[in-house]
């Protein structure tokens, strides 16, 4: 293992063009890095593949939400109109899957949307208002028109000087050490 300074979060470098950061990301991926990220003001098309990232897990939470919602809709209408206070309307069955279908449908969508919305924030570990990156002066520009690659210290490949040189070889500018 390499010597690691616990107070270092990682090293960062900036790029000016999306094409440059894209090709640099491919090289970081090929070098076998695990804990690293590319910061940009918009999602760069195809960067997921260039970084070798797996597919997002948000759809699983959406499905979970949707199934929960559908079951909730079924139970809600059955319990309220058929079990707890059976309502006689036109001599029809107290509950059937047909008449409250709009309710079940809307509950499915509502809960699936909750699964998606909260799932996205949970998977992204947000809200998180304190992060070492926010102390970096050049980080602010990544939400405007600059791009940044961050190699994190917790990766087993991380070595301060080597990683700095690696970023330099990728064509990165303003190479900076991020402290916790």
């Amino acid at each position: 293992m390499n010597e690691r300074n616990e107070s270092i979060h990682g090293v960062a470098c900036t790029f000016r063009k999306p094409a440059d950061v894209y090709h640099a990301a491919e090289k970081v991926r090929d070098a076998g890095w695990k804990y690293w990220d590319v910061h940009s003001a918009y999602p760069i098309h195809g960067l997921d593949q260039a970084m070798g990232m797996p597919r997002s897990k948000v759809p699983r939470l959406t499905l979970l939400g949707g199934v929960t919602g559908f079951i909730t809709g079924c139970l809600l209408t059955w319990y309220m109109n058929s079990y707890d206070y059976p309502l006689v309307v036109g001599g029809k069955p107290f509950w059937s899957p047909i008449f409250p279908f709009p309710v079940m449908y809307e509950c499915t969508i509502l809960f699936a949307a909750f699964g998606t919305f909260f799932g996205q924030f949970i998977l992204n570990r947000l809200p998180q208002h304190h992060h070492p990156l926010f102390d970096l002066p050049q980080f602010a520009r990544t939400s405007d028109d600059s791009f940044m690659i961050v190699l994190e210290a917790r990766d087993s490949k991380f070595h301060l000087d080597e990683s700095r040189n690696f970023l330099l070889s990728l064509g990165g500018q303003e190479i900076t050490v991020i402290r916790d």
Partner: protein
């Protein structure tokens, strides 16, 4: 053919003579604007000192909104009898205004969700404002059924919450379906809108120079860092919410139309209502988007990001949906004639030539005739005219709901129980004020939130192309 490679025998010779044509693609962002220009333009709206026009309009909007406040205060302290509702017309302006405002909202979801699934990149310039419009329009819509229940302090009985009577909502009623549809619609639209804004809040936060602005937008941005691992989840979530909003928006106006179609009143009890209502909703909503965006485009000089291509597209959608609505009016007449049902036949002849014929012909001229002007390029390029036509569409769509609601109730089966509905001053105050209420919210949105989605605009900019050096 001398220059042809060896395998020329495998390919038809004609290919060597054909120069593949460059397909012209409409530019979404004119003048080759940079990422930084987009950031400056959109953040500039939030960062600049409050302009005078904004203060004036905001004051006027607050004043107009107070009419709704006054109308509702009088209604609650006196009773729903102060509205013009009399037997046999139990649904008057309240439901008309409700359907009108909900319909307006639909274009926002169409732009943000359906056009997203259809990969219509031009939506990015207008989707944020259109989504805001959706949310505020649904808030305006909600006022009417909420107060129409009479004793508004019992309105929570509409929701499946335990109450002291031990009675639950009755799920066979389309009105109860509506409660679920509209509240789900409001919630999901708000989540979708907010989630799309998080990265843009991050941009405003990163540029903030004052303490309060930094704090305000930091909270809203939730610590967004724009790492691609975050973007990947965000994009997936955005796509999924678009996929969820699409069946949702179609179901909302379908269920609104069920309020009418499930009853046995002549002129209401028809299967055409769901598609007809959805087309009408999109029609009116796009007219409202243009009504709002054309002045904003002029004030903030957004001509490079909302260009003629965007306006053309919206005009064409208005033309298409307006024609669908006109077709539906015709179909209604045909089916009434073909049904052999004398009440149904009477309902439609009465609409066109009866005591509300004036309203019917306002509806037809505004909804069917005026949008046909959008066939002409010259008219689509004349933005003042586009704005005026959109106002006509808004008026026409309000009258459509009025015609549907009132004519059928005023003259149904028994001539002995026919009536004539007119609104009272309380009705008029309440409805007039909702335009102020809507404007107050929309002006606050324009002033404090990112008006255009910066991240999405950057995504469709030619500068984002990684193959373009």
């Amino acid at each position: 053919m001398a220059h042809a490679p060896d395998h020329s025998s495998e390919r038809p010779a004609i290919l060597d003579k054909v120069n593949p044509a460059e397909l012209p693609r409409a530019k979404l962002i004119l003048n080759d604007r940079s990422f930084h220009w987009i950031t400056d333009k959109v953040c500039g709206i939030v960062e600049e000192p409050t302009p005078l026009w904004w203060k004036v309009l905001f004051t006027v909007a607050l004043f107009v909104a107070s009419f709704t406040g006054a109308g509702l205060l009088y209604l609650v302290s006196t009773g729903t009898g102060t509205w013009g509702l009399r037997s046999p017309i139990g649904w008057g302006w309240a439901i008309v205004n409700f359907v009108f405002w909900v319909g307006i909202g639909h274009a926002g979801t169409l732009i943000s969700a359906i056009l997203c699934l259809l990969r219509q990149k031009w939506r990015t310039s207008i989707n944020r404002a259109a989504e805001a419009m959706t949310i505020f329009a649904v808030m305006c819509a909600g006022i009417f059924p909420l107060f129409h229940v009479g004793r508004v302090w019992f309105a929570w009985w509409l929701f499946p919450l335990p109450n002291q009577n031990g009675i639950w909502p009755q799920f066979r009623s389309p009105l109860e379906w509506d409660v679920f549809a509209v509240s789900t619609y409001f919630t999901v639209s708000t989540l979708f809108w907010y989630m799309g804004m998080v990265p843009d809040f991050g941009t405003i936060r990163d540029r903030a120079t004052t303490w309060w602005r930094k704090a305000f937008y930091s909270v809203l941005a939730m610590g967004w860092r724009g790492g691609n691992r975050q973007w990947s989840n965000m994009e997936m979530a955005y796509l999924l919410l678009a996929g969820l909003s699409t069946p949702l928006v179609l179901s909302v106006h379908t269920i609104v139309s069920f309020d009418f179609a499930v009853s046995n009143v002549p002129g209401w009890h028809t299967t055409i209502f769901p598609p007809y209502f959805v087309a009408g909703a999109i029609f009116s909503g796009f007219a409202m988007v243009l009504t709002l965006m054309l002045p904003l485009r002029a004030i903030y000089r957004l001509h490079d990001v909302i260009n003629q291509y965007h306006i053309d597209n919206m005009c064409k959608i208005i033309l298409a949906t307006g024609t669908m609505v006109g077709y539906a009016y015709g179909t209604e007449f045909f089916i009434a004639a073909y049904s052999g049902n004398s009440y149904e036949k009477f309902a439609f002849i009465n609409r066109a030539f009866g005591q509300y014929a004036w309203a019917y012909w306002i509806m037809v001229s505004c909804n069917v005739i005026t949008p046909q002007l959008f066939w002409f390029k010259k008219i689509r390029e004349n933005h003042s005219l586009v704005w005026i036509i959109c106002l006509f569409v808004n008026v026409g769509m309000w009258f459509e709901r009025f015609v549907i609601t009132v004519t059928s109730l005023a003259n149904d089966y028994l001539p002995s129980s026919w009536g004539y509905y007119s609104p009272t001053i309380v009705d008029i105050f309440t409805f007039f004020g909702t335009f102020g209420f809507f404007s107050v919210l929309f002006l606050l949105f324009v002033r404090f939130f990112p008006l255009l989605p910066m991240a999405e605009l950057k995504m469709v900019s030619p500068h984002s192309d990684i193959h373009n050096h």
